[in-house]
Subunit: 156 residues, 2 copies
DNA sequence: AAATTTGTACAGAATAAACTGTACGTAAAT
DNA sequence: ATTTACGTACAGTTTATTCTGTACAAATTT
């Protein structure tokens, strides 16, 4: 009868993981976070590896990625040598913040590249008498505006 | 000197495509949309295939997917037998709407699954005297709340 | 009716992403 | 000082995704 709980826990983790994958986590990262979150424990890499049945290497890279996005925290306990991690709380704030950063960073990159291209067009002589210039310019502006809007949305 | 424009167009498409991939399009779908958007033309599958240097099959599946998400439209011209497609305009509305639907649909699924699990726990006797029940219940509620918040955000 | 053209299903190839095992540097324990 | 334990780099394997080629049904042309 013990396994019914095991089983239920697994189901919850699976569902939850699938959702947070949508925030840009790999399957394993998602599962790992879900697991840590559900069992409110601080765990070592070996324990995680054991619990999820995945390699220790995977745990190392996954947990590092989660930590970089501020989804888990390293915990210090006197006398304990191994690295200990636990999931951060306040799910909504956690994930929206992480996601926001991801988007803003990406969009900013593209913005830079696009305005650079725009400059090039201005400077270039080749385009001066091209009949397609107006269309390209218009479209380019629209695309840049689009990026601004997306940026604005996530900055909200 | 003609290829400078070709080249510039390609760069714009590449940048643009990378952004819209983030809305959940495959690389090819993204590139295809970007291309259609930039050259304000209505095109046949063969023309797209030729223009992007990819198989016609890919064009067929990609354009169908784009159409399903309402990102491109089929265009009818009397006497023309082939399917013609063009990119829809109003980028921002287009993509946010498409994205929103994708999220809401996914989140709704998980919500259903999670509340179903919750019901099961209520009904089950196994859990009645489990010492871990309170923790699981608390966490499950938190996760469900999280889903509600995400849902609300995208419903906005 | 026969022949051609067009779009897509489907199986399989190519590419990309996720994951693992070994091997090693660093730090703690003996 | 030597040994043991720990985390991670890196190369390679596995798995999933994306893309292609062939084949075929439906529609149009001859």
């Amino acid at each position: 009868m013990e396994w019914e709980m095991e089983n239920t826990t697994k189901k919850i983790i699976a569902e939850f993981a699938e959702t947070i994958e949508m925030f840009g986590l790999t399957p394993l990262e998602a599962r790992l976070f879900a697991y840590l979150y559900l069992t409110e424990k601080t765990m070592t890499l070996d324990e995680m590896s054991e619990a999820l049945g995945k390699s220790k290497t995977s745990m190392s890279t996954s947990i590092r990625s989660l930590a970089e996005h501020n989804l888990v925290s390293r915990v210090w306990i006197k006398g304990v040598r191994k690295d200990l991690y636990q999931a951060n709380d306040q799910l909504y704030k956690l994930f929206t913040s992480s996601y926001k950063n991801k988007w803003l960073e990406a969009v900013e990159h593209r913005q830079l590249a696009l305005t650079e291209i725009k400059e090039q067009i201005y400077r270039s002589n080749t385009f001066k008498n091209s009949p397609e210039l107006p269309v390209i310019n218009k479209k380019l502006d629209e695309i840049i505006t689009f990026h601004q809007q997306v940026d604005q949305f996530f900055r909200k």
